[in-house]
């Protein structure tokens, strides 16, 4: 893309025309599955394995993932499938012509944070792989190879994403193989250790069975809610809603719980969620190498999709709208490269907590979008207003910000944290019956509806008055 008027459509945040939205359901499903499957899958499985046994954990996690995926699809889906825009542009009707920077900031911090972690994981597993196949000496991890490999990964991602969404899809077509390797790993563990697996008891389970079960569901919901920042940039490449629903629910919603079972099974039977470690135990060094290939490929595919989505989100900023795609990619990748090069271990140790707190915001965000689109706007959006940030435009509200969305977001986050501390998992009130994400979604939606009554009465927001 150049600075000129003509640009590759999938490198801009502008609407994609019907002629440009050519991804088939299979192509979208492959891309989403590759993006969804990463190291976090066995970290999620490990978390669930602290509270639930294998069968209960698998069921609770699967149910939660499908609920969360539906919420994300209902919230971010309509604007993306109708107008070919990304998740961030789709928040302008709710947050306003300037207020969209709030979800944009959440997206940027969440994606850049997660991708920094994934690329550090990528570097670490590459080193383990090199040691396992004998091309690097034992102890190489301490010799500054993590920063070097992180920078190498950033360079590779940069090269792939020079081709925009086409690059994401092309790499996904190759890396999707790791999803099947993951299923094979799961089959190995289940088939070799089934009696132990069903008998294994979780180590950190509460005496309250309902609390444990609800926490398994909650972990599934909050996991797939965190796909909100990614999804718009992908589904806008598909031509319509029908070609999006199954790829999202089955391509993105289903692989996460299935691959999380690798971590769940590992932590229950072998007390380790790291597949490289337990596959060596089950099948010897060759299986360990296969598993390291899986981990390396998985994180690389997800990081590519994440950085692409983040770059498209940043494109909504007026100052970045006219920058070349190369410049935008550099701006998006640079924080990841800096973290990986200079503070990988510190980031690895501390940033997970911050990401957990950021993740709390996606449930209320979905509630706000669902309430606005289905209840208030009755499925009508003005695409011109989305790209008009002049004072007086329909989505300008007050100074470009809709206070109803900001208040609803804050209260929704407050409800979540009041019900469940995302860092310690100490819960309060009716959490054990309701989860934390669902009440936070409902509370944000309710507050948004009430506050919007004043917005609509003032004649702002482009709402149709009854």
């Amino acid at each position: 893309m150049s600075n000129g008027a003509t640009s590759s459509a999938d490198e801009s945040a502008w609407p994609l025309t019907p002629a440009e939205r050519v991804w088939s359901p299979v192509r979208l499903a492959v891309t989403l599955a590759t993006a969804a499957a990463a190291t976090w899958c066995y970290l999620i499985g490990e978390a669930v394995g602290g509270y639930l046994g294998f069968v209960e954990g698998a069921i609770a996690l699967s149910a939660g993932c499908m609920i969360g995926m539906l919420l994300v699809l209902l919230a971010a889906g309509p604007a993306s499938v109708r107008f070919g825009i990304d998740s961030i542009a789709g928040t302008k009707p709710q947050f306003g012509a300037r207020g969209w920077v709030v979800p944009a900031a959440l997206q940027a911090v969440s994606i850049i944070g997660w991708n920094s972690l994934l690329i550090i994981f990528f570097a670490k597993s590459s080193i383990q792989l090199a040691v396992a196949v004998g091309i690097a000496p034992v102890g190489v991890a301490g010799a500054g190879f993590v920063p070097a490999l992180t920078l190498f990964a950033c360079l590779l991602i940069f090269c792939v994403l020079r081709r925009g969404a086409t690059g994401v899809s092309a790499v996904s077509n190759i890396l999707v193989a790791h999803v099947f390797v993951g299923f094979w790993m799961l089959y190995l563990l289940v088939s070799h250790r089934w009696p132990e697996l069903v008998a294994a008891q979780p180590l950190a389970a509460s005496p309250d069975r309902l609390w444990n079960y609800t926490t398994g569901i909650e972990l599934g919901i909050v996991t797939t809610l965190s796909w909100w920042p990614y999804i718009g940039a992908m589904i806008r490449m598909a031509p319509n809603g029908r070609s999006v629903v199954l790829p999202v629910l089955l391509g993105m919603g289903a692989p996460v719980p299935l691959l999380s079972l690798i971590g769940l099974a590992g932590v229950l039977v072998l007390k380790s969620s790291d597949p490289a470690q337990w596959l060596r135990t089950v099948g010897g060094p060759t299986y360990g190498i296969v598993s390291l290939c899986f981990v390396t490929a998985a994180n690389f595919g997800t990081a590519i999709a994440g950085i692409y989505a983040s770059a498209i989100g940043l494109r909504n900023f007026r100052t970045l709208e006219r920058r070349s795609w190369t410049t935008l990619l550099t701006i998006t990748i640079l924080p990841v490269a800096v973290v990986g090069a200079f503070i990988p271990e510190l980031f690895f140790a501390k940033f997970g907590s911050f990401l957990a707190l950021i993740g709390v915001a996606f449930a209320p965000l979905c509630g706000i979008q669902i309430a606005d689109y289905y209840a208030l706007r009755r499925r009508r959006l003005d695409v011109r207003a989305i790209f008009d940030d002049a004072p007086g435009s329909p989505y300008y509200f007050w100074h470009g910000v809709n206070p109803a969305a900001i208040v609803a977001l804050i209260i929704g986050c407050g409800v979540y944290v009041a019900l469940l501390n995302p860092l310690t998992y100490v819960s309060e009130g009716p959490y054990r019956f309701l989860t934390a994400s669902l009440p936070a979604t409902a509370a944000a939606a309710a507050v948004y509806l009430v506050c919007s009554w004043f917005v609509i009465r003032s004649g702002r927001g482009g709402y149709r008055r009854a």
Binding site: A5, L16, T17, I59, V81, F83, G241, L249, V383
Partner: protein
């Protein structure tokens, strides 16, 4: 001092491109989010399946 007019030309050309895109997506976008088949799948996979799983897991999923 050529740059201002050059920038203004680029801005104008971009406005034309954006306008063309908006015009293209406005056609046929009314009520074009999810059709009835999509809703059936969403209800089945996002509501019915989780409810069945949750109830099944609660009553039959417990480890011995």
């Amino acid at each position: 001092m050529v740059e201002p007019s050059s920038n203004s030309g680029i801005a104008e050309a971009r406005a034309v491109e954006l306008e063309a895109r908006l015009a293209a997506v406005e056609v046929g976008s009314v009520d074009a989010d999810f059709d009835s088949v999509s809703w059936v799948w969403m209800i089945l996979l996002g509501v019915v399946l989780p409810v069945v799983l949750i109830l099944g897991g609660w009553f039959f999923g417990r480890s011995p």
